[in-house]
């Protein structure tokens, strides 16, 4: 089995394996029923899963589809959250407005910053985005109007509105998922993938790499920003250490890769599994859960180097799978 054949395994086209996508859509439909449990805990757990999934979709678009590995998407999550907080402190109490403003601001910010930053390639792009994220966090932490490190308190969440944020987050995630699906299948998606595969060859085919990279990053920013915009009022309080947390930066990347990079199902599957497993481990191993969490990631990477979506495309049972693993060994 050669590298080329391996690449085909589990790929199933630009949107990834269709069965995996169908399963994910089904799961999304099920998640709509979560608030019916009237269990705040379950709701918060899944709201956080959805939040991470939306951020993972954002990252997947620029990192997975366009091949520009961003280490700074948390900036958009944070900016989105602050958009909500600023509106809330000015008396606006409307999640839709929060999300719209966050998406607009994030897209604009991504476009402005993207112009110089997206000229950089590969690792240098990655670091530049990390720089942008840390700098944005630092600047907000030093701005008194935004509460500095003290943060901003939004209005108190009451029981009646509690599920509202769940549904809002669900919609943001569904939007990111379907957005990814339709973008991937559209001309835009093919431009992104062409840039990922070979920027020079893409240019010769008439694709303006600069333009489409910025478009990809702006859409990516909108997804993360929308998640942030719902997170802020749901959490009721934000500060730079919450909204620009390292985890919020790394987790979506980890989830996407674990689920299946450059697929529509991957980010969701990754988020569900990672956040779900983390929650369970935390419950059963109050102290050692992070240890097991680390071990779990290592094992999954070693057993499924191309992500969980790969499972859906594997044919020929355990033996074929083991055989295909050997190909990744140096």
């Amino acid at each position: 089995m050669n590298q080329a054949t391996l690449k085909r395994i589990g790929l199933g086209g630009i949107t990834g394996n269709p069965i995996a996508f169908a399963v994910v859509l089904g799961l999304m439909a099920l998640l709509l029923a979560i608030p019916l449990t009237h269990n705040g805990y379950i709701e918060v757990v899944f709201r956080n899963i959805l939040m991470y999934a939306a951020m993972a979709y954002g990252w997947n678009l620029i990192g997975g589809y366009t091949g520009y590995v961003s280490f700074g998407n948390v900036a958009f999550f944070g900016i989105g959250a602050y958009c909500s907080a600023v509106l809330a402190t000015h008396g606006v109490d409307n999640v839709l407005l929060y999300v719209l403003l966050a998406m607009a601001v994030c897209a604009a910010f991504a476009a402005v910053v993207g112009f110089p930053v997206l000229r950089l390639k590969g690792h240098y792009f990655g670091i530049a985005t990390l720089g942008v994220a840390l700098a944005v966090a630092d600047i907000i932490a030093n701005l008194d109007v935004l509460g500095g490190t003290g943060g901003l308190a939004l209005h108190q969440v009451d029981e009646a509105h509690f599920s509202l944020y769940y549904y809002a987050m669900w919609l943001v995630t569904l939007g990111s998922m379907l957005g990814t699906f339709f973008i991937a299948r559209s001309k835009l998606g093919y431009a992104f993938v062409a840039i990922r595969e070979n920027e020079d060859a893409a240019a010769v085919l008439g694709i303006s790499a600069t333009r489409y990279k910025i478009v990809a990053w702006a859409i990516s920013a909108m997804m993360a920003g929308a998640a942030g915009a719902v997170f802020a009022p749901a959490n009721g309080f934000i500060d730079p250490s919450i909204t620009f947390a390292i985890d919020s930066n790394v987790f979506p990347i980890v989830m996407t890769i674990l689920g299946g990079i450059g697929t529509v199902a991957g980010p969701f599957i990754g988020a569900l599994l990672l956040a779900g497993a983390n929650e369970l481990l935390q419950r059963f191993f109050v102290k050692a859960h992070t240890l097991f969490f680390g071990a779990m990631i290592v094992l999954i990477v070693l057993l499924l180097p191309r992500g969980l979506v790969w499972l859906f495309g594997l044919r020929g049972g355990v033996r074929a799978w083991l055989k295909s693993l050997a190909v990744y060994k140096a």
Partner: protein
């Protein structure tokens, strides 16, 4: 005037450590294309090695440098050989994910071994200093800088002169060609990863002299390593040094900025990360491969 000189000295002294912090990270990234998120954990292990030797056997921290290098080299070598190698041909980000998991594992094992207590390595000469005109220079940090320079120099010589060093550089330029000329890439990779870990261990030892230890200390240095190695130029020994010094000096001078604009008090010190990062962005935009990086066509 005296503050400017003092800041320059502070910056250079801090930059020397950052250079070593970034060196191993930069080599692994530049040569193997692996973003090693476990680098911070390796730094922490190096610091604890020094701590253990110091508290149990009163070994001077500087004397423990070779020990932490060797121990961490061995650890890195084994990890690459028996874990990372398993997915060596998978896409780049797969190994990135793997190092994320490894970092979690190592840090949490350390939490169980050493607990979350904060510890320090305080030697008899810790804090001793001398003055040059108005400028105060702490001996420990000066020695640290000297050690950092020496390590960078040795690394540079080894990479350019030794047979293995050349094989490493050949591999980083063209794996296929290197393989054809008889380089065992698996072995080279294990050595490079070991080297990266060993240098992280050395950095940890040097850090333990000025910074208190706890199992999660590595993360802060990991982020700095990211910035420094790109600032200087990925995979370049001199780049790490230049990047470290630039970063240290920028941070030192950023501290003294202090202005008030429209009622908003801006402390450069509070913004020192942001300032350093803006410098990074400017450098990258002017020179997309870092200060010492090779310009590519």
């Amino acid at each position: 005037m005296h503050l400017i000189a003092q800041d320059l000295v502070n910056g250079i002294l801090a930059g020397g450590i950052l250079a070593v912090v970034a060196l191993g990270f930069s080599l692994v990234w530049g040569i193997m294309n692996i973003i090693n998120l476990a680098h911070g954990a390796f730094i922490m292990l190096g610091a604890y090695t020094t701590y253990q030797l110091f508290t149990a056997f009163h070994v001077d921290p500087f004397l423990s440098l070779p020990v932490s290098f060797v121990l961490l080299f061995a650890l890195g070598y084994l990890i690459q050989r028996f874990i990372m190698n398993w997915v060596a041909r998978a896409p780049v980000l797969t190994t990135f994910l793997l190092t994320f998991g490894l970092a979690l594992l190592i840090v949490n094992i350390a939490l169980n071994v050493w607990t979350g207590d904060t510890r320090g390595v305080t030697t008899a000469y810790s804090g001793a200093n001398f003055t040059l005109g108005d400028v105060t220079v702490p001996w420990t940090k000066l020695f640290t800088l000297v050690a950092a320079l020496a390590i960078t120099g040795v690394m540079h010589l080894w990479l350019t002169r030794s047979k293995t060093g050349r094989a490493i550089r050949a591999t980083s330029m063209d794996i296929g060609a290197a393989q054809l000329s008889g380089v065992r890439v698996t072995e080279i990779y294990a050595i490079v990863f070991g080297l990266g870990a060993g240098l992280a261990g050395v950095a940890g030892t040097l850090i333990s002299l000025s910074y208190a230890l706890n199992p999660t200390m590595g993360d802060l240095f990991l982020i700095k390593a990211f910035v420094v190695c790109v600032l200087g130029g990925l995979g370049s020994v001199q780049g790490a040094l230049v990047g470290g010094l630039v970063y240290g000096i920028v941070e030192a001078f950023a501290t003294q900025i202090d202005v008030t604009i429209g009622g908003q008090h801006i402390s450069g010190s509070g913004l020192q990360d942001a300032i350093a990062l803006v410098v990074l962005l400017i450098v990258l935009i002017v020179r997309p491969t870092g200060i010492m990086g090779k310009a590519t066509a």
